[in-house]
Amino acid sequence: MRIVVQDAPFDFGAEAAAFAADRRDMGAIVTFTGVVRDSDAGDLQAMEIEHYPGMTEAALADIATQARTRWSLGDVLVIHRFGRMTPGEPIMMVATAAPHRKDAFEAAEFLMDYLKSRAPFWKKEHRAGQADWVAAKDEDEDALTRW
């Protein structure tokens, strides 16, 4: 299990390759990557992510440990950035390795659902002349009820 919280960009392909390498006993690897999505108007200049140092790492480790308890997993990776990033840049990724695909998929979705609403990150969108905090969505909170 590896949890990384950093402001530096990360190399999604290299992380995915390293995570998947030499998994002779894990038939299924799932990755999810969140990318800074431009606004529909195409005017997003930057996404800024604030976090709560200390609690962030603890919350992510707790979520990953819960996933390992609930599903048969060989390994879990969570990388989440904070600071300023531009459209097209990866914000975060999770990866799961499991003997079977159902466990790998469900655990990755569980990690994402919890990470969205239970890890202390806050997004702010910067457009020309204005900056707005992204509001939490009811559907993200509702997504937790399925687990």
Binding site: G34, I49, E50, Y52, G54, M55, A58, A59, H80, I91, M92, M112, L115, K116, S117, R118, A119, P120, F121, W122, K123, K124, W133, V134, A135, A136, E141
Partner: protein, 81 residues
């Protein structure tokens, strides 16, 4: 006790962290104390349903006891991922 603010709560109150000496028994008591102090606190805490709280870096409710707590943090619902 250290009190921390994040995102728009931090912006409304105007600082990320402060040290507060308090006898408040619960988070709600602490919020009432802060609101009584200055308008910017009252503005930040006007709608508690729009806020989340962590005591010693664990998410909890506004009725949580503060006995022995070293750090309380207030922030809006999280938007990670």
């Amino acid at each position: 006790m250290d009190v921390l603010y994040f995102a728009w709560v931090r912006e409304r109150i105007g600082l990320p962290k402060e040290r507060i000496e308090t006898q408040a028994e619960t988070v709600a008591d602490l919020v009432a104390e802060l609101c009584a102090r200055e308008d910017r606190y009252a503005a930040a805490f006007a709608d508690l349903s729009a806020l989340r709280v962590a005591v010693d870096q664990k998410l909890t409710g506004f009725d949580a006891p503060l006995e022995g707590a070293r750090e309380v943090a207030f922030f809006p619902p999280m938007t990670g991922g």
